[in-house]
């Protein structure tokens, strides 16, 4: 059915008295909204924990970098894996992907809270209509509402993939920087060491933009979720005016 310029559904009210008493709702959240209401409580603390862990690892790695620079250039570049430089470089390689995955989980949590807000708007709108004794008309999920959950999922998957690529690259990085820097600098054309050095630099060049792409999916999901909230609020405003006009006529 199309009402108020949107595709709508009419919900049958089972027990109007219970809705007025507040013991029952005129409708329930959709399955995705109900899931979002549960999931944000998991995603946001998980994301925050990852960011805090990244910060702690960053401090420890910073101390190790400081120790590396505690020696003269000639000393630190001549000895293989000086002050665990291979490990330091490996952490530098996987840590950005890990912390951005934490940020992504938090952005996913925000998207889910917005989904939960939409669910609550749906219930509140239905309850008000049931309480005043008119047909409970609700808008069908608009395109923006259908798009934002898969976009959020794609964002999280992209960030997860970037994190795993970072972990894989960190092993290559550890191998490369486990050698003395003089050996890395002196690697001959066609050698495995030079190829691996090139690989580390080449993958890093597109890995950061890939992480931003994941963030772009998540920000798109947030924008579309907010646009859906606007649609819901505007529908409620229109529906109130329509009910008032029905009463007047």
């Amino acid at each position: 059915m199309t009402t108020l310029g949107m595709k709508t559904v009419t919900i049958p009210v089972r027990n109007r008295e219970a809705v007025i008493a507040g013991t029952e709702n005129a409708t329930e959240m959709t399955a995705i909204q109900a899931m979002a209401t549960r999931m944000w409580r998991i995603l946001v603390p998980m994301g925050f924990m990852i960011i805090v862990i990244s910060f702690i690892i960053g401090i420890i790695n910073g101390i190790n970098i400081g120790e590396f620079f505690g020696d003269a250039k000639i000393v630190r570049e001549a000895s293989p894996n000086h002050e665990n430089f291979g490990t330091v470089q490996a952490i530098v390689t996987w840590l950005p992907g890990f912390k951005l995955f934490g940020v992504g989980l938090m952005l996913g949590g925000i998207t889910m809270i917005l989904g939960s807000i939409l669910g609550n708007l749906r219930i509140a709108g239905a309850n008000v209509q049931a309480a005043v004794g008119v047909d409970v008309i609700l808008p069908q999920t608009p395109t923006t509402g259908k798009l934002f959950p898969p976009l959020m999922f794609m964002g999280l998957m992209t960030l997860m993939a970037a994190m795993f690529i970072g972990v894989w690259l960190s092993f290559v990085s550890a191998d490369v920087y486990g050698n003395a820097i003089t050996d890395i600098n002196g690697a001959a054309a066609g050698s495995d060491l030079l190829a691996d050095t090139g690989l580390v630099h080449a993958v890093k060049a597109w890995l950061t933009p890939m992480e931003f792409l994941g963030m772009a999916f998540l920000f798109s999901a947030i924008t579309l979720a907010l646009a859906t909230i606007v649609t819901a609020l505007r529908f409620q405003a229109r529906r109130l005016v329509e009910i008032a006009e029905e009463k007047l006529s």
């Binding site: 005043v132 950061t208 924008t223 646009a227 405003a237």
Partner: protein
């Protein structure tokens, strides 16, 4: 009585919503473009690292054999310099879009409040009682 102005406003789509969509799409295009540029940059870096460091460091503009390597190094360094700000430009576009749509949420809440203020007395029959 519901005014014609309120009826018109509840039925129109806010123009700022379209602006928010525009900013979101712009941000997405910018970030997707930076990803593609990043891939091209990665390929160029992989190509550059086929040469030993001594060859890369010895590259000179007046040497026909190594001029290409020097040019490639310059392109990589220059691209890296503007690629990061480009990514943040895309991010900025997204954040501007989110701010705009949040402003539209505020407007929509105000509109719904106005609609409630006008409609609820009619729906609940309070208008007639207060007039009596």
């Amino acid at each position: 009585m519901v005014s014609a102005d309120l009826k018109r406003r509840v039925n129109e789509t806010p123009r700022l919503k379209r602006l928010a969509y525009g900013l979101m799409i712009t941000g997405f295009i910018i970030i997707a473009a930076s990803f593609v540029i990043g891939i091209a940059l990665g390929l160029s870096i992989a190509d550059l690292f086929e040469n030993a460091k001594s060859v890369r460091d010895a590259a000179a503009p007046d040497d026909a054999a190594t001029r290409g390597i020097l040019s490639q190094q310059g392109t990589i360094a220059a691209t890296t310099a503007w690629l990061t700000p480009l990514k943040f430009l895309g991010l900025g576009s997204f954040l501007a879009g989110i701010t705009t749509i949040l402003y539209v949420v505020i407007q929509s809440l105000k509109l719904r409040a106005e609609s409630m203020k006008v409609s609820l007395p009619i729906i609940l029959g309070v208008e007639e009682k207060s007039a009596e």
